[in-house]
């Protein structure tokens, strides 16, 4: 538990409890970051086996009380608690609270995990967002129609507990709103969600979409990356595919978006740690307006953080761990000198069994492409959004300009042929 410092006394290594869900893209990123930072890591997980080296503490995010007790009994003293991914966010907050460590309040994390709670909080705080209605699970179809008429057509019908673009559909008229709601309830049932879960019906906002990643410290937001999402469709489904940073939006628009994201995080009660906010720039009426779509109390999902690199070669996960340990965030503009980069998340084109992803060599050879990873094993059944919850894989690029990054990613994705049987 100590590290030797040449010529000086041994210093204690920071000890961090990392809670890792079984099904995540993010375990490797956090473990590697901890290794590079020389942290003494304690891992809690609902999937890892208790091997002999440094046995993982078994936890169940569905039973936070028992999990907290087990962690308190076995983890020993730690300096910070970090959730590697969404399923562990609430448990991490609960553990930190019991240990007396600085963290977001449990209530704030809960506010960030439900899209309905977010909307209500933001409405109370006057955060710019689409108009919305929350429709209870027991409500008849007419309630969906009424909600849709109230926000206006086209509208978007959403599951409140799912992420990525799962369970999100656009509806252009009352009949399609009802059809969308029924389909989303089937998706929720298949995902094992509560039958009492409400649906969100909200105004469809036309305009460019972007995501803002940042770190909160004392309630102050430091932006780590802004991704434009130039290929996000206008519906009926909303799978995100292309993310390019830095943003090409005009600076005043970007400033307003960052301000809105910070206001949204504050309204949820978040004061520390990473956030990932998704916004649309509503360009109706000639005056661009940054409106909140969603916000998560974690960093960007999937493998997208691999598209980012910070001064000194640090990864986003290193920044998150450093933030949890009270280290200052990177200075504003510290990524200004970093080359534009981006990621293409490969969507599932149709349901079936994934047989092959051909053309990978050609895709990897496209100038600017720095990585290509297929993350779904061959032979597995796949479903496109809004029913599915996974991407086939990720392509990464870096180039001289954001436009070149975008071109490289589109060209590379065009080289791939996904075989689904």
């Amino acid at each position: 538990m100590t590290s030797a410092v040449p010529g000086g006394p041994a210093l204690p290594r920071p000890r961090v409890l990392l809670l890792v869900p079984a099904r995540t893209y993010r375990a490797a990123g956090f473990l590697l970051a901890a290794g590079r930072m020389g942290l003494d890591l304690v891992v809690g997980s609902d999937g890892a086996l208790p091997l002999g080296g440094r046995p993982v503490i078994p936890v169940d995010p569905g039973d936070p009380e028992a999990s907290v007790r087990r962690i308190l009994a076995r983890a020993g003293p730690v300096d910070a608690v970090v959730a590697a991914d969404t399923p562990m966010l609430v448990l991490a907050a609960a553990v930190a609270a019991r240990m007396g460590l600085p963290h977001n309040p449990v209530e704030a994390v809960l506010n960030a995990t439900g899209k309905d709670r977010q909307r209500l909080r933001w409405a109370a705080a006057d955060v710019t967002q689409p108009s919305f209605r929350i429709v209870s699970a027991a409500a008849p179809d007419t309630a969906i129609c009424d909600a849709a008429r109230a926000v206006g057509f086209p509208c978007v019908v959403k599951a409140v507990s799912l992420s990525a673009s799962q369970g999100v559909l656009r509806a252009d008229d009352p009949a399609s709103a009802v059809t969308a709601a029924r389909r989303i309830r089937r998706i929720l049932a298949a995902a094992g969600r509560s039958a009492t879960e409400s649906l969100l019906v909200e105004e469809y906002l036309p305009g460019p979409e972007l995501s803002i990643d940042g770190l909160l410290a004392g309630g102050e937001l430091t932006v780590t990356a802004v991704f434009d999402k130039p290929a996000t469709p206008g519906g009926p489904t909303f799978e995100e595919t292309l993310l390019v940073t830095p943003s090409r939006l005009p600076r005043p628009v970007l400033s307003e978006a960052i301000g809105t994201a910070g206001q949204a995080a504050c309204a949820l009660g978040l004061t520390r740690g990473p956030i990932h906010a998704e916004l649309r720039i509503d360009d109706r009426g000639g005056q661009p307006r940054a409106a909140m779509l969603e916000l998560a109390a974690r960093c960007i999902g999937g493998l997208c953080s691999r598209a980012l690199r910070f001064p000194g070669g640090a990864s986003l996960e290193e920044l998150v761990l450093g933030n949890a340990l009270g280290q200052p965030p990177p200075a504003a503009g510290s990524r200004d000198a970093v080359r534009p980069s981006g990621v293409f998340m490969l969507p599932v084109p149709r349901p079936g069994v994934l047989r092959a992803v051909e053309g990978r060599e050609g895709a990897a050879a496209v100038p600017g492409i720095t990585g290509l990873t297929i993350t779904i094993p061959l032979g597995q059944r796949v479903q496109p959004f809004p029913d599915g919850d996974r991407y086939l894989g990720f392509i990464f690029a870096e180039a001289g300009t954001p436009g070149e990054v975008q071109d490289a990613l589109i060209t590379a994705s065009g080289q791939l042929r996904v075989v689904i049987g």
């Binding site: 891992v43 890892a48 002999g52």
Partner: protein, 188 residues
């Protein structure tokens, strides 16, 4: 040696801004190998040392060479090595590599494989080079979203405790080729 130092810096910069993020995220690292005399290249050939998971670096060898040759015209070829391989500055010869590999195999068979069999997994020792034990994860462990936890929190500290002569542990698994991972990642 200023020219050599500049060349090393230029090659390292190419690595850092292109492939290194992907390599690191897959459990590996790669750097310019510089001899004790500060020499980076002989006849335009630059040697890179790959550490961590070889599966994160070696499949990218052709791409890495193309990127470096394009960006640094003084480089005519790139040689990729592992720690301890001839020409590596960081390696130290290990006298009993066969013994070390066999010892690692025994520890894994006694203390790891019975446990990970519960997840249809298996880990085998592929060899040992200059103190680096190379393992391959199979079955439910290959491509599992928790494979890194298994290796870094379970297997590596166990082997380090049992085998003080071990310099490091390299996971050479091609995780993308796994067809039956026990846990698959989901975007959350």
């Amino acid at each position: 040696m200023t020219g050599q130092a500049d060349l090393a810096a230029a090659v390292q910069a190419v690595l850092e801004r292109t492939v290194l993020p992907s390599v690191i995220a897959r459990g590996g690292a790669v750097r310019v190998a510089v001899t004790a005399d500060g020499v980076v290249t002989a006849d335009g050939v630059v040697t890179l040392e790959a550490t961590g998971s070889p599966g994160a670096v070696f499949p990218l060898a052709a791409r890495i060479e193309a990127l470096i040759r394009t960006a640094v015209p003084d480089v005519t070829a790139v040689r990729l090595i592992t720690p301890g391989q001839a020409g590596s500055p960081s390696g130290a010869a290990g006298p009993t590599e066969a013994d070390l590999a066999e010892s690692a195999r025994r520890v894994l068979d006694a203390e790891v494989n019975p446990a990970i069999a519960a997840h249809r997994g298996h880990v085998s020792v592929e060899g040992c080079e200059q103190g680096w034990v190379r393992i391959r994860l199979e079955g439910g462990c290959q491509g599992c979203s928790l494979a890194e936890v298994t290796v870094r929190q379970g297997i590596e500290p166990l082997l380090r405790a049992r085998l003080p002569a071990m310099t490091g542990l390299a996971d050479i698994t091609d995780h993308e080729a796994g067809t039956e991972p026990f846990f698959s990642p989901e975007k959350r």
